[in-house]
């Protein structure tokens, strides 16, 4: 909301500098988003008369102008063409500094000396007009040599752009902001001039009003203004509106807007001649009713909207024929708009139920200055005071204006003001400091609260402008915030609390960190790929599967929640390949989402109005996904990466089991990561499906891309992925014996299973390592040769040949029992 300093000064004395005031408003919670200085840099600009216009030899776009600004003839070179001898124009003499800091100096152009600059309105930041010089004769009766600001009755002003917080319905007005300042400064808040009805005839002899639905309309006042002459507003009114960013329209509309900005009460003027029966009633819109609003859109009323609890209620104003005139508190209709011929005006000043306005405004996509205020809660008691101000302002341009006695004032249901009890130590309990009762009372009273003391408690009733103040414990917090705000947060104490329980990370969190660290150590670049993707990408890995969809995505490519991190990573890698920086390992620990209909573990949670129903939400699981894209990377380096990771994570024995397919993987180059002891599948290792690479990283088609995709929760779960004992072995001090064993083994026997069997065959085995796999036509069909290096050792003594030999025999026997034959 834009508020000028001069306007604020009508309500409260302000002696502080602009910068001081900014800090104080911030500290009051009236956050200043910007400051605009009006009239700055115009101090030196004076009124000059054009006395002669001469051409300059060799120049057709500039002319030599001789002006008089009170000190005799002055030559100025000027490019504008829109004026004649005798016109008065603004002159910035040599030495003047224009808005924006442009300093005027004596200049020589085409051999002619120019002693200043004649200005356009835009150059002076007075308006956007840049069609030529500002011709003052069109606006005023100019006097040569007078300062331009005096000539135009301009005063330098400062406009603050303030963000009004959601719990400050009162601060949507100049008076409300001024009230905060007056309270902080301990200064008096002045009221503007308020008129009273000035004719004997009563309003009910001319108009009537009613409320059909008191829950939607809490108060409806209708005033009748007669002898209205629609015309332009006085300058000061236009200036005020302009400073607030509103366009002056006519004296009646402007008065309405001015009052809204000043006192926070939106009013609506109707041309009485176009209101059937001179009657205004507020009621619930009925299904099937429509309204063409001032913006030319025909709106269906009373139509249920999306979102919780939106039954489609609209409050409308109707005339004597029960015809809808406007959407109450939001926007009027065209039929009863004020026009140049209007002479009798019905002024509606009302209170509407804030939630009804909020819902209607959201449902119809209509926001107006009025709805912004009504939905936060306009003071139900300010209506007739606002009309009094309306009349006072309008009377300046309409001297014979009549306001009929006893305006209609229909009561509906207005919110009850709570009585909030502040107990003896409530303030200290919340703020950590006891603010003296005298000081807190003064603050509250300054803000318009009424305060009484009884049995050590303060009983506080908010003003009707503060419908945000709740009752009971909630209201207590609201009132304490008001006290703290004006007292100043900066004066509140600070204390470092402590408690006996230690901080820390959960086991999963510690594990996640370790996984991330190890992967980075192994060369992974931690990436962050999008959670939201396209249907096409989703179908690449989970064709046709149920998916979690966004109702209102920013783009269709971002309308589906990912079920894998593989696509995002391959895409990101592909972009790096395009940039020539793709020889990297990229990876992510990220959440993927499974539709509740297709998972065994939907996330059941409280939902619905007041959390009264159980909702099945998507299952959220964390994946560790690593894409290996260096030139020599493929499924084998992915296995090597996994082995290193598994070792660092102390996994006891997780084996790679060849698999026919896993989502996103190359079908003949992928394996499951299976814990031998528990049988749990922790994830997959292999290569990215070539088709996926082709689609997602087209410039990298035919490049092999290693891939690891693991369920982080399974990996971290010690009952699924068994860890090695935390008790470690001290290696034998005696020399060890190393032998090699090669077995012709059926393909059905996994190399890692055979290794495991060998390892268990003798207590002397220290380590078994596969070092060669040989396939050849000289081997029987359905077999291959697996060669292991076996290290024997003993903690007792150096092994004898016999011991090694019998251990070797034991290993061979075990292998044979699995169908392997020593080569």
């Amino acid at each position: 909301m834009k508020i000028s300093l001069s306007w604020l000064r009508e309500f409260v004395d302000i002696t502080e500098s602009v910068e001081e005031l900014r800090l104080i408003m911030d500290d009051l919670g009236l956050v200043v988003e910007g400051i605009e200085r009006v009239g700055e840099g115009l101090e030196d600009v004076i009124v000059a008369r054009v006395d002669n216009i001469a051409l300059i030899e060799g120049a057709d776009r500039i002319r030599l102008i001789t002006v008089d600004a009170g000190n005799g003839p002055l030559d100025i070179v000027c490019g504008a063409m829109n004026f004649e001898v005798g016109h008065h124009v603004p002159l910035a003499p040599v030495g003047a500094v224009l808005p924006g800091g442009f300093e005027i100096a004596q200049r020589k152009m085409k051999g002619v000396i120019s002693n200043g600059m004649l200005c356009s309105a835009r150059e002076l930041k007075i308006s956007e007009d840049h069609q030529g010089l500002m011709i003052l004769d069109d606006l005023i009766t100019p006097v040569v040599g007078v300062k331009l600001m005096d000539a135009l009755s301009m005063t330098a002003d400062v406009v603050f752009d303030i963000t009004v917080e959601g719990n400050r319905p009162d601060a949507w007005s100049v008076e409300g902001v001024a009230r905060d300042l007056a309270t902080r400064f301990h200064r008096t808040l002045r009221s503007p001039k308020i008129a009273t009805p000035n004719v004997k005839a009563t309003t009910d002899s001319f108009a009537s009003a009613g409320i059909d639905d008191p829950d939607l309309c809490g108060r409806l006042t209708v005033s009748v203004l007669r002898n209205v002459k629609v015309g332009p507003s006085p300058d000061w009114v236009a200036a005020r509106l302009t400073s607030a960013g509103m366009r002056p329209i006519s004296n009646v509309v402007d008065a309405s807007n001015l009052v809204m900005l000043e006192l926070g009460q939106p009013t609506h003027p109707y041309d009485a001649a176009h209101v059937a029966g001179k009657t205004l009633r507020a009621r619930r819109a009925r299904s099937g009713e429509t309204l063409e609003t001032l913006d030319g859109v025909v709106r269906e009323l009373a139509k249920a909207g999306r979102g919780l609890g939106d039954t489609g209620e609209d409050c409308v104003i109707v005339d004597g024929d029960d015809h809808v005139l406007g959407l109450a508190g939001i926007m009027g209709g065209a039929s009863s708009e004020i026009s140049e011929s209007t002479t009798d005006v019905l002024v509606e000043a009302a209170f509407f139920d804030p939630m009804t306005i909020a819902r209607s405004s959201k449902r119809h996509g209509l926001r107006s200055e009025a709805s912004n205020r009504f939905e936060r809660g306009v003071d139900p008691n300010v209506a007739l005071r606002a009309v009094g101000r309306f009349v006072a302002v309008l009377s300046e341009s309409v001297p014979g204006l009549e306001w009929m006695a006893s305006p209609l004032d229909i009561a509906g249901k207005t919110p009850e003001l709570p009585v909030v009890e502040l107990r003896d130590n409530d303030i200290e309990r919340t703020l950590g400091i006891a603010i003296p009762v005298k000081e807190s009372t003064a603050i509250l009273e300054g803000l318009g609260f009424s305060v009484s003391e009884k049995n050590g408690s303060l009983f506080v009733i908010p003003p009707s402008s503060r419908l945000d103040i709740r009752s009971g414990a909630n209201g207590r917090a609201d009132v304490i915030e008001e006290i703290a705000r004006v007292y100043s947060y900066r004066r509140l104490p600070r204390r470092s609390p402590s408690w006996p329980t230690p901080g820390g990370l959960s086991q999963l969190q510690q594990f996640r960190r370790k996984v991330r660290d190890v992967c980075i150590d192994l060369g992974m670049n931690e990436s962050w790929t999008p959670t939201l993707g396209s249907d096409e990408d989703f179908d690449l890995v989970h064709p046709g599967a149920a998916r979690v969809r966004i109702t209102n995505p920013l783009a269709s490519e971002e309308s589906v929640m990912r079920a894998t991190t593989i696509t995002g990573l391959v895409k990101a890698w592909g972009k790096n390949v395009d940039r020539g920086t793709g020889d990297v390992v990229m990876g992510e620990i990220g959440v993927v989402f499974t539709h509740p209909d297709v998972t065994k573990n939907p996330h059941n949670t409280k939902g619905g109005v007041a959390g009264s129903v159980t909702l099945a939400l998507p299952e959220e699981t964390e994946r560790l996904t690593v894409v290996l894209g260096r030139p020599k990377d493929d499924a084998t380096t992915a296995v090597a990466f996994w082995n290193a990771l598994a070792t660092r994570l102390n996994l006891a024995d997780v084996v790679v089991r060849t698999l026919d397919a896993a989502p996103g993987f190359h079908p003949t180059r992928c394996g499951a990561l299976v814990d031998r002891a528990t049988g749990a599948v922790l994830g997959y290792v292999g290569e990215v499906d070539t088709e996926l690479v082709h689609v997602l990283a087209p410039t990298a088609t035919n490049r092999r891309l290693g891939l690891i995709d693991i369920d982080l929760a399974a990996l971290s779960d010690h009952t699924m992925a068994i860890r090695t004992s935390q008790f470690v072995n001290v290696p034998s001090r005696y020399p060890s014996a190393v032998i090699d064993l090669a077995f012709v083994t059926p393909v059905s026997v996994h190399a890692q299973d055979l290794a495991h069997a060998l390892r268990s065959a003798s207590d002397l085995v220290e380590r078994v390592e596969l070092f060669d796999v040989y396939r050849g036509t000289n081997l029987p069909e359905g077999t291959r040769s697996l060669a292991y290096s076996v290290r024997f050792s003993s903690n007792e003594a150096t092994l004898s040949d016999t011991e090694v030999s019998s251990a070797r025999d034991a290993l061979i026997a075990v292998a044979v029992s699995l169908g392997a034959v020593l080569r």
Partner: protein, 357 residues
């Protein structure tokens, strides 16, 4: 009676279809295509010959020919799919690798240097500061019901304050009842509900996590971003403790010369509420463009837990009180590393990632 050029169309079509069926590889198909449907096919030749017919006859014959062409093209497309599938199966078979037989010691692993992501690292640094202050780290889901994301936080349906968050809705349940969480604050509710259910108050926790707002990304905002939320529920907790925690954190994370200050603000779930600002880390409080010459920059929001929130989760506000705070993780990282455009964070350009260690 003159003969039409299409007299033999049925037989010609049959021949083409047979040819299509006889194709056995994609290469064959590619080679044969011009002769089946392409420029050198009988179909194209027939098309040309239609020119000799009068207008009416030409239209009829054209339609007939078009129909035949459609049929042949469909057969070709179908054949191509079959052959592609076969080709893929063959390629996959020749590519087959038994990953159980990989000789790890024989694999040549390229050496490369990995880098942590900015968000992950910043989150960890922030967590470490809070863990050092005695907080535990909690987490919550990214898809939330309206209840957790809004209503339990004292933001009733359709309340104007919902305008503070541009919300992505998820197509589940009734319209607009399931959301991508717009802030980490729902985790507060989960923590309090659990503590009440397990009788395990007090709570001293921070909850980092991914949040979503329906906001077109620009240099300063991303639609997906991360927040860290803090919450304390304990006995005798006051606004002074809140200000103290913010100050301790600010010094610990940003350095001893960075100050914090609070100014009134509005959040539906806290009262009194504050926005917290810290000394501008660019100019160290001198005033610069980043801080609009004020010397201060906004970091996040905070406040005493609103009694309505406590009562929504069944905590007795006379016995317990508490506060919450929250701020953006990217913003902290952005300030520390002076990142001009936040969008770099989601582009995963290794030239960007490579600068973090």
């Amino acid at each position: 009676m003159s003969t039409s050029p299409l007299d033999n169309l049925a037989a010609q079509k049959a021949e083409l279809l047979e040819k299509v069926t006889s194709l056995t590889t994609l290469d064959e198909l590619k080679e044969a295509e011009p002769f089946i449907t392409g420029k050198r096919s009988i179909l194209s030749a027939l098309q040309k010959s239609l020119g000799q017919l009068d207008a009416d006859a030409r239209a009829d014959a054209g339609a007939l020919l078009q129909e035949a062409r459609r049929e042949v093209e469909a057969a070709l497309t179908e054949r191509r799919a079959v052959l592609s599938k076969q080709a893929r199966a063959v390629a996959l078979e020749s590519d087959r690798l038994d990953l159980g037989d990989v000789v790890v010691s024989a694999v040549t692993v390229p050496v490369s240097v990995g880098h942590p992501g900015l968000v992950g690292s910043t989150q960890r640094e922030l967590e470490d500061v809070f863990v050092g202050m005695g907080f535990v780290v909690a987490e919550g889901p990214e898809v939330e019901s309206d209840w957790y994301n809004f209503e339990a936080l004292n933001i009733p349906p359709a309340h104007p304050s919902r305008g503070m968050w541009d919300t992505f809705y998820v197509e589940l349940g009734e319209p607009e009842t399931v959301v991508l969480r717009t802030h980490t604050s729902p985790t507060q509710i989960h923590l309090m509900e659990n503590a009440v259910a397990n009788n395990s108050l007090p709570i001293h926790a921070v909850a980092p996590g991914t949040c979503y707002r329906r906001d077109t990304p620009d240099a300063r905002h991303l639609a997906t971003f991360h927040q860290i939320e803090g919450i304390i529920v304990d006995r005798n907790i006051t606004f002074a403790d809140l200000a103290g925690v913010i100050e301790t954190f600010t010094h610990a994370y940003f350095g001893p010369d960075i100050e914090s200050r609070l100014r009134p603000a509005f959040f539906p779930f806290t009262e009194p509420s504050a926005e917290f600002e810290i000394t501008c880390t660019i100019c160290r409080g001198e005033g610069c463009r980043t801080c609009s010459q004020t010397g201060w920059i906004e970091l996040g929001g905070c406040g005493m837990l609103d009694p309505a929130v406590l009562s929504a989760v069944g905590i007795d506000g006379d016995e317990w009180s508490g506060f919450a705070f929250g701020f953006g993780i990217e913003r902290c990282g952005q300030m520390r590393h002076q990142i001009a455009d936040m969008r770099a964070l989601i582009e995963n350009d290794t030239r960007f990632l490579g600068q973090f260690s």
